[in-house]
Subunit: 200 residues, 2 copies
DNA sequence: TTGACATGCGACCGATCGTTCGCTATAATA
DNA sequence: TATTATAGCGAACGATCGGTCGCATGTCAA
């Protein structure tokens, strides 16, 4: 029961922090949204800032588990179209998953205030995707699916535009469908530009 | 004197909002940073939110004047290297200019809370750069400097990675030098990938 | 049954928030 | 000069903030 409440508080904190920011969130609202008294929160956390730190711990651990482990790497596609499919599968998850979306929004809001949030933001928005796609592109080059080039540079050139459109989905959810279409179009464009065969 | 104070308040608001967010800023600190009494602010603005709205007005007008007008478009480069030079010139300005940097940070923080901030964020981070580079790339294609392709797609593929690295500079200013190097490297890579000649 | 512990609650605390008030000094207008 | 508007100030207001306190309840081991 206690453990459950603690997790529910963290979930509510993620939700409210990602909407209103840390400073814009008060614990009365937060606990009330769980049908909990204001003071009961202090049975589980020492302070508001303690919630923040615990939430960051959780986000960092979640990211490491979900995106950081090497064995979690998606397989190298066998065809150019396989890259598109893999990309769209990943993007669809990352855009629709409420928890991941709230995490991105929270990091956007708090990246300048907290050092750990700053580091996690860089990983979420930039280096993480790049590091994930570098070995994939290296593999595709070995298979002769992509022209030989610096795989890290290609990974950056591929993931940064996709990341920009994911941000657009966070900011303007009503454009999600349109953005997903743009991502797919960009992915095919990318293959046309860097691929070895003429047919996309 | 009055006009001057009003502008100084707006400047201080941009500075503090971009550091601590709207909710994380209090007017006592804000006015104190100007050597002004707490209550004097209300001679110039009706409320804290009024400051916010006036600041947004200013940011929107500033963006339109500085980046929105067609006559402000940079000329089409005559060589591939000219694109790199033009890019680095623009990026250097946009990364070092305190006001533009604070505007980006503010938009990152407040994009989910305010509709006008949301729209301006999309323009700042995505569509603005794209629209600026689309005619440039179209011109470079006409000049035979780039392979014929969809200039809008190329503009997106070019500006989104640069935008991502500009965000990195905002988030981790100590990496600015490194990021500028990466932008230049990416720019040359882009020309190698899409250009018509072999030499970068 | 009893004692200890965990978990919940409402009342309350001091601090801080945005904001208003009454007052003064200055500068422009008549 | 007399008047009026402007712009500054500190004190104080009510509301809300994060956080504490004492108490009630439920669970479970002894």
């Amino acid at each position: 029961m206690a453990k459950d409440t603690k997790e529910r508080i963290l979930a509510a904190a993620l939700e409210m922090f990602s909407r209103n920011g840390y400073a814009g969130t008060n614990i009365r609202e937060l606990t009330a949204s769980l049908g909990l008294g204001k003071s009961s929160m202090y049975r589980h956390f020492q302070s508001k800032e303690d919630i923040w730190n615990a939430l960051l711990d959780e986000m960092i651990a979640y990211y490491a588990e979900r995106f950081g482990s090497p064995e979690r790497l998606p397989p190298v596609p066998d065809t150019p179209e396989g890259l598109v499919e893999m990309t769209m599968r990943m993007v669809n998850v990352t855009v629709r998953d409420e928890r991941i979306m709230m995490t991105r929004k929270l990091l956007s809001i708090e990246q300048f205030r907290d050092e750990r949030a700053r580091d996690l933001a860089t990983r979420h928005f930039l280096t993480g995707l790049e590091q994930m796609f570098t070995p994939i592109f290296a593999g595709m080059m070995e298979k002769g699916l992509l022209r030989c080039d610096d795989p890290a540079m290609l990974a950056f050139a591929y993931t940064a535009p996709i990341s920009a459109l994911i941000h657009l989905c966070d900011r303007e959810p009503e454009k999600t469908g349109e953005a997903l279409g743009q991502i797919e179009a960009f992915s095919r464009h990318f293959i046309r530009a860097y691929g070895t065969t003429e047919k996309g």
